[in-house]
């Protein structure tokens, strides 16, 4: 038996629906025991990918391997995966206990073993004592736990979760995020988690695949994804981002000088693929990497601007500052740590924006 490094491997998977390409040549490798998220806007193909792994849908081309086994032609009920459905799909005619025990019928377990296993699982999701509840007596969070217990009690190799927190209100969702992450670390099962909520993905995952229009744009750990997005699409989708026009002035020995609109010429210690003088591309900076001051600073980049709007959010303040040479005002997120900021710069006031060169990211126009 060759132990593959990966629990789930999807290779060259494409899926064409009537009028849209839901999966466009997708490659995906999920490591053993990983909390892996598929992140993207609705309609990006993330749910289709999950259903292809679960066996409810098939890829027109390409292959799916789970735990080194080719899943071609294997029906959902013979796959070592279990799924938590978007609306939980709790069986309405069964109580909590029987919902959780549902998938154990074909397991070779004695009655006592079965009962113990179900009850242990109910305890693990903090539903102990609620086994006799009927499904319509459950709150949203409890339904979510039943769905989780029902899938996990079968000890699958992979747990697939299709936006399981989408139907919960904000507080409960945040609570469940922590709980779900803890549960995953306790059981050590590989989780593939589909979501369109970037904060959710960032806070829970070991690694994230960002999807758009049936393609995977980037697979990376949350920090890398946020700090070093590999294309404008990812940069735009994850967090907020200011985009500026840039034109290469010169390149020499792996360095390049770029004229950035509104900032001036900036030296970068890297080059884009086939970068030549005259290449137009996009330069980006996150709002929180910009600092607002009333006086000029000696930062690597320091440019004057005029405040267009400002709003106070408690932990931070959001400003929009227009600078010469930029068509759209740049967004600035100022963390309200300094007590001296007892009032926000008013609309129309002159300020200085400073940043370090390393905060600037560059993307070629062609996208990824």
């Amino acid at each position: 038996m060759s132990e593959s490094k990966y629990m789930v491997e999807v290779l060259n998977a494409s899926r064409q629906f009537d009028d849209c390409l839901a999966l466009d040549n997708v490659d995906l490798c999920v490591r053993r025991g990983e909390f892996f998220s598929l992140l993207g806007p609705s309609g990006c193909g993330k749910s289709t990918l999950l259903r292809v792994i679960a066996g409810f849908d098939h890829a027109d081309t390409g292959s799916v391997h789970v735990d080194g086994r080719n899943m071609h032609g294997v029906p959902p009920y013979r796959r070592p995966c279990n799924m938590v459905f978007q609306n939980y799909a709790i069986f309405p005619h069964l109580n909590v206990y029987n919902n959780v025990a549902y998938g154990l019928r074909l397991f070779d377990l004695s009655k006592d073993e079965k009962r113990r296993r179900v009850e242990d699982m109910l305890a693990a999701v903090r539903l102990d004592g609620l086994g006799s509840r009927s499904s319509d007596q459950l709150s949203g969070g409890q339904r979510q736990r039943v769905a989780l217990a029902r899938a996990l009690v079968r000890q699958p190799k992979v747990l697939l979760l299709d936006e399981p927190l989408g139907a919960l209100d904000k507080t409960l969702r945040e609570e469940m995020q922590v709980e779900l992450r803890e549960l995953q670390q306790n059981v050590g099962i590989t989780f593939i988690f589909v979501t369109h909520d970037q904060e959710e993905a960032l806070s829970m995952s070991d690694r994230i695949a960002v999807m758009s229009r049936g393609r995977i744009l980037q697979v990376a750990a949350p920090i890398d994804l946020y700090e070093r997005p590999n294309c404008a699409g990812v940069a735009e989708f994850i967090g907020d981002m200011n985009f500026l026009e840039g034109v290469t002035e010169s390149t020499a020995s792996g360095r390049s000088a770029v004229r950035v609109a509104g900032i001036g010429v900036v030296e970068f210690e890297n080059c884009l693929v086939s970068e030549k003088p005259g290449l137009a591309h996009r330069v980006a900076i996150r709002p929180e990497k910009l600092r607002v001051t009333s006086q000029r600073t000696d930062a690597e980049i320091c440019i004057p601007g005029t405040v267009v709007s400002s709003s106070y959010w408690g932990d931070q303040s959001q400003l929009r500052v227009s600078i010469d040479g930029c068509a759209t005002p740049v967004a600035v997120a100022a963390h309200n740590v300094d007590p001296l900021q007892d009032h926000l710069p008013a609309r129309g006031s002159q300020v200085w924006l400073s940043a370090s060169c390393s905060a600037l990211l560059r993307f070629s126009e062609q996208g990824s």
Partner: protein, 271 residues
């Protein structure tokens, strides 16, 4: 006066609904009343209480055999059309079929085709292919007219069915066949019971098709109609009618009781 208007409205409503109820149930009340009347003639004043018409019923072997025929035909018809209805309703709701609307129209067509036409054409067709007449011929004809009702009832049941429930069952290791019995069937039971009871009643009451196709094995309605030619048999026909009403009432009450049991179970913790 503005204040009198709602008052008058209420009176009108009361008059209308009581008139409607009388119109609906008074003729039916004639049956039990005269079935206990000690006279051959259906006319007031009543002559006195008797149960001899009921005794006569029990003593008449041809009534018993007609009753048995009717029960057999109605049971088989209800079973057949409900099974076919389940299959059809599932196919129509699960799969996006080409020409779904025209298929549904075709299925529902027998409801509007006059039974007289159906009866005659079935009579000709069955004779032509040499299957002959009798109970099975009536079952065939009744299934034809009951099937649309079964589909209509079951369609509404299956339309509200969450596909994810079936997927969840497949995901939890059950085959499609097991999924049907563990998920689809239990959830569809109220619809299946309703379909069975309705098609049973339709078949049990149906006269025209049974009249054409039953040949030497008359159903209860056909037998009843035959008895109307003999004035002396009329009171026992009324007794028979009374029994049918009583049985229908019990069946409907039972169905309602069943339905309530189910909902109560749903609300109180099971197990």
């Amino acid at each position: 006066m503005m204040r009198h208007k709602p008052e008058r409205g209420r009176q009108l409503r009361k008059a209308f609904s009581s008139g409607y109820l009388f119109y609906l149930y008074l003729p039916i009340l004639i049956l039990p009343i005269f079935s206990f009347n000690d006279s051959f003639y259906i006319s007031f004043p009543l002559q006195g209480f008797t149960t001899r018409w009921y005794a006569e019923l029990g003593a008449d072997p041809s009534i018993i055999s007609a009753l048995i025929s009717s029960l057999q035909i109605a049971s088989v018809t209800a079973l057949l059309s409900t099974i076919l209805g389940v299959i059809t309703a599932r196919a129509l709701t699960r799969h996006r079929l080409r020409g779904q609307k025209s298929i549904l129209t075709m299925i529902m067509l027998p409801i509007v085709v006059p039974e007289l036409i159906l009866g005659v054409s079935l009579l000709l067709a069955l004779n032509e292919i040499g299957l002959g007449l009798g109970k099975w011929a009536v079952v065939a004809g009744h299934t034809l007219i009951c099937f649309p009702f079964a589909v209509a009832i079951l369609l509404s049941r299956f339309e509200g069915f969450d596909m994810a429930l079936e997927e969840a069952s497949l995901d939890l290791g059950e085959t499609p066949w097991q999924t049907f019995w563990r998920i689809v069937f239990p959830l569809a039971v109220p619809g299946i019971v309703a379909s069975f009871l309705l098609t049973f009643t339709i078949s049990f009451d149906e006269f025209l098709i049974a009249f054409f196709l039953s040949a030497t094995e008359p159903t209860l309605p056909v037998y009843l109609w035959g008895q109307l030619r003999f004035p002396k048999k009329l009171p026992s026909a009324l007794a028979l009618g009374t029994l049918i009403i009583a049985v229908s009432f019990v069946v409907v009450a039972f169905a309602e009781w069943m339905r309530r049991q189910r909902t109560l179970q749903g609300i109180e913790p099971g197990n």
